[in-house]
């Protein structure tokens, strides 16, 4: 009986085999397991290898594992490409008429079961159901109760009619029955799940949901991998809440449309990835200058340029921090898990309105597309705070200028929204005075610039998404620092190292701008060595730390970088740490 294992399905892109993984994830979740599901795919619609791996455990997991225990292979290519990860004792189920095909590519000690997945599907109703046969076979191997999947299949296919539901159930059961009796593989059975109600979602789903709960009522976006799913999730949802989805002609229209809506009093966002984000740089500065709230999600993928659209990376940090000309501050928030995508997206709208500024939600492909188990979402933690909106008595007489950009100690000025009598003003990207009128006066220029910068001196976050967290000893031999989806691999590596007796701490930063420099400086100072772990080639976070934090000097700050398009494995981080301890 296993408390953890990794299952994978592989085959040709576009044949719907990923749905094997979706069905299995949902079933596992309902049975009370934790899962972490990660898809490997290419920027093409049909053909080429794709795979979907699910790490299944009886405790929370937020990273891929090194190896694969069960591989459902719809073709031999899937075996060949993933053989290196098959450990001795792993089981490969290959879609084959022969019961025990010769598969030298599988490697030594790997058990190969030939199961005619497609054939069985054909027999029970149609080859397109081979994914269900694969799911059933997997359920059998893992020792899951077949009944648990009945409802699931009904929910999934209900809209297509009872017939389709029945056919899929048949396919699932046929696959299940085929491998139910495999005593030889009984070592793969999972310990029972705890049966608790949990949820599975991707970070993209969670960000969309968080936005909705956080009061977002308009998304303007242009399709791009791996961010489109945020818009897709909102497409059926927003209209239910009187909100709007606009698919624009390009990303410049997307962000400027959202800025217009934000200026007019609607919480609005856009979601994109690197290439689209780069196109938004001018408008980002515009939002900053007119002090309009807007939330921009950048689900990072491998760059530069078009790069590798379906591959993971964290290399847009520099542009998020420093993009757009001129002295433009902004807030950059990086959620580390699906939960945090939810709370982070919701909080982003509070920050955008409270600080009247663009807020960038820095996601990455791994956090955006990986399917994660979420314990629960506490909606009461999402409190809508619309920031300073001028009360009627603060607004001027109808014919006087309203001081929309009033100089205040906090740098934040109460805003008026179109429709409010007495709040008329000019919102311009040109430098302006307190009333918004264009001016090139030197003193005003300095005061207005200082006002804009001052707003960011004390950015405070909701406790659902802390600026930085630390695990482990305060004065460790090794302090691991990361951001975004490296959270899972880092946390796991740290725990394993700790169990080995090492003194290792893990700091994870969610607020990248303005950086919580004080606490970071003190933790960095207390650590013997500091390792900054990130998925990019230039060590962007490490450079930010060196820039902002006096104690982060070059000698003690060591970078561990991975930029091959895949997220870190905990073991990779451990190896690097062991060399340094």
């Amino acid at each position: 009986m296993r408390s953890e294992l990794t299952w994978m399905v592989g085959g040709q892109q576009g044949e719907g085999i990923e749905s094997t993984g979706y069905v299995l994830s949902a079933g596992l979740n309902r049975l009370g397991y934790h899962i972490y599901g990660y898809r490997t795919f290419s920027s093409r619609i049909k053909g080429g290898h794709t795979n979907f791996r699910i790490r299944i455990a009886t405790r929370r997991v937020l990273a891929n594992s090194d190896h694969v225990d069960v591989l459902i292979a719809f073709d031999r290519d899937s075996v060949r490409r993933n053989a290196a990860q098959l450990t001795p004792g792993a089981v490969v189920v290959i879609d084959d008429e022969e019961a025990h095909p010769q598969l030298p590519e599988a490697g030594d000690g790997v058990r190969v079961l030939g199961v005619p997945l497609t054939g069985i599907a054909r027999d029970v109703g149609g080859v397109i159901m081979k994914n269900m046969v694969g799911a059933g076979a997997s359920a059998a191997l893992l020792g899951l109760p077949v009944d648990a999947f009945d409802d699931l299949i009904a929910e999934r296919f209900g809209s297509k009619g009872e017939k389709v539901v029945e056919a899929n159930r048949r396919a699932f059961r046929a696959g299940y029955e085929r491998l139910a009796g495999q005593a030889a593989c009984s070592d793969l059975r999972l310990e029972a799940g705890d049966g608790r109600r949990r949820y599975t979602m991707t970070g993209d789903d969670a960000a969309g949901f968080g936005a909705l709960v956080g009061g977002c009522r308009l998304i303007a976006a242009y399709p791009i991998t791996p961010a489109s799913d945020i818009m897709h999730w909102l497409v059926p949802k927003l209209p239910q809440f009187g909100g709007v989805v606009v698919q624009t002609e390009d990303e410049i229209a997307a962000i400027t449309l959202a800025v217009g809506a934000g200026y007019a009093g609607v919480r609005a966002m856009t979601a994109t990835s690197g290439p689209g984000f780069s196109l938004m740089m001018e408008a980002l500065g515009y939002a900053g200058m007119i002090e309009a709230p807007v939330v921009i999600v950048d689900v990072q993928r491998a760059g530069p340029s078009t790069g590798m659209p379906t591959k993971h990376e964290q290399s847009d940090l520099f542009e998020m921090l420093y993009g757009s000309h001129g002295d433009l501050p902004r807030i950059v928030l990086a959620p580390a898990t699906a939960e945090e995508c939810f709370y982070g997206a919701a909080e982003a709208f509070n920050l955008a309105e409270r600080y009247q500024t663009p807020v960038i939600l820095a996601m990455d492909l791994a956090v955006g597309l990986a399917i994660q188990t979420v314990d629960d979402l506490d909606f009461s933690r999402v409190k809508i705070d619309r920031g300073l909106v001028a009360a009627p008595e603060e607004l001027g007489p109808e014919d006087a200028d309203f001081k929309r950009y009033r100089f205040t100690d906090s740098g934040i000025s109460p805003r008026s929204l179109p429709g409010m009598p007495g709040g008329l003003h000019l919102a311009t990207g040109l430098e302006h005075d307190e009333t918004g009128h264009i001016t090139e006066d030197r003193r005003n220029r300095v005061r207005m610039t200082d006002k804009r910068l001052r707003k960011f001196q004390s950015v405070e976050l909701n406790d659902a998404i802390p600026p930085v967290t630390f695990d482990g000893p305060e004065a460790p031999d090794l302090l691991l620092l990361g951001w975004g989806s490296t959270y899972g691999p880092l946390a796991e590596a740290r725990e394993r190292l700790e169990r080995q007796g090492a003194s290792v701490a893990h700091g994870h930063i969610r607020l990248l701008e303005p950086l919580p420099a004080g606490v970071l400086a003190s933790r960095i100072a207390q650590a013997r060595r500091v390792v900054v772990v990130e998925n990019n080639a230039r060590g962007q976070l490490a450079r930010l730390l060196r820039q902002e934090i006096g104690t982060a000097d070059k000698d003690r700050l060591h970078s561990v970088l991975k930029y091959d398009g895949t997220p870190f494995l905990p073991s990779e981080i451990m190896r690097e740490c062991e060399a340094m301890l």
């Binding site: 979740n29 309902r30 949820y199 949901f209 909705l212 709960v213 009061g215 009522r217 308009l218 303007a220 949802k237 209209p239 239910q240 809440f241 009187g242 909100g243 709007v244 606009v246 624009t248 002609e249 410049i252 229209a253 997307a254 400027t256 449309l257 959202a258 800025v259 217009g260 809506a261 934000g262 200026y263 007019a264 009093g265 609607v266 609005a268 001018e282 408008a283 515009y286 979420v374 979402l377 909606f379 009461s380 409190k383 809508i384 109808e398 200028d401 929204l417 179109p418 429709g419 009598p421 007495g422 008329l424 003003h425 000019l426 919102a427 311009t428 990207g429 918004g436 009128h437 264009i438």
Partner: protein, 294 residues
């Protein structure tokens, strides 16, 4: 204690800012016409948003009294769309230059037109980049000498009226700064129109365009509104007329009343403005959605 103003005069739509335009600039007349149209419609300045582009023309945003948004170069259309969708009770008017709208912003203009959001777009077409000192613009005539093409422009000009018709604009008019009263009527009609309305205005740049002057236009422009036989409800005839007359017409060129607006088509779009919604909702509603992830 708010005073309800029944009748406003054009002056009620003037800010204190002294216009920065050159004496004689056609844009003065556009501002005046817009103020006349606003007064005629008794628009509430507090419920009116003017979205201005970048250029001499775009300065209009500082002179017309209303909520005013001065955007980055070329982006009036998406900003105006965002504002209108956010608060459908507002009257949203965009205004900018030919460079702003037909150069850097052309794509947005065409896509705004096909969406048919209920906004009015006034282009102050002087066939030159005024504010940057007289370079060729997308509507500069072939052969015109400009600061960036001293031997004459070699790009055939964009034809905004034809482009707009093909893009599916549902209200199309052309005005002339030489006749602000007529222009005011056209702008008024545009604001009243439900859907996307373009008013292209021949607005001479007296400093940099020595060809397309007031006199040049006066000699050539034909006012369609004076032609009783002209039917602005006929798209094909409108297109043919514009082509025949080499774009040198003024008046209401085309109006469609049977095309639904974007607001009418948007799924779930409600009669009350989104901006007026209460955002903090009952957690139970969210729990239902969360259950979809179980």
């Amino acid at each position: 204690m708010a005073t309800v103003i029944d009748r406003r005069s054009p002056k009620d739509y003037a800010t204190d800012a002294a216009p920065w335009w050159c004496p004689g600039c056609g844009d003065f007349a556009v501002l005046r016409a817009l103020q006349m149209a606003a007064a005629d419609l008794n628009l509430d300045p507090a419920r009116t948003v003017l979205v201005a582009g970048i250029g001499c023309s775009g300065k209009i945003g500082d002179y017309f009294r209303s909520y005013s948004v001065h955007v980055v170069h070329g982006r009036t259309m998406p900003v105006a769309t965002g504002i209108k969708l956010a608060n459908r009770d507002l009257t949203v008017i965009a205004a900018g230059g030919d460079g702003d709208g037909y150069g850097i912003g052309l794509n947005h203009f065409i896509h705004a037109a096909r969406r048919n959001v209920d906004i009015t777009y006034i282009v102050m077409d002087n066939k030159v980049y005024g504010l940057t000192k007289g370079q060729t613009s997308p509507t500069t005539h072939l052969g015109s000498r400009t600061t960036s093409a001293p031997t004459g422009a070699i790009d055939r000009p964009i034809t905004p009226l034809r482009m707009a018709l093909v893009a599916g604009v549902t209200y199309l008019a052309q005005g002339f700064s030489g006749d602000p009263k007529h222009l005011a009527r056209l702008i008024k009609g545009a604001i009243q129109h439900k859907g996307f309305a373009l008013v292209n205005v021949y607005s001479p740049c007296v400093t940099y365009n020595k060809i397309n002057t007031y006199d040049w236009y006066k000699e050539r422009l034909v006012n369609l509104d004076d032609d009783e036989s002209y039917d602005p409800g006929n798209w094909q005839a409108a297109l043919n007329t514009v082509i025949d007359k080499d774009d040198l017409v003024t008046g209401l060129i085309y109006r469609a009343t049977d095309v639904p607006t974007y607001e009418e088509l948007l799924p779930g779009y409600r009669p009350e403005p989104i901006a007026a919604q209460e955002l903090q909702r009952d957690p139970a509603e969210w729990a239902k959605i969360l259950a979809e992830f179980a």
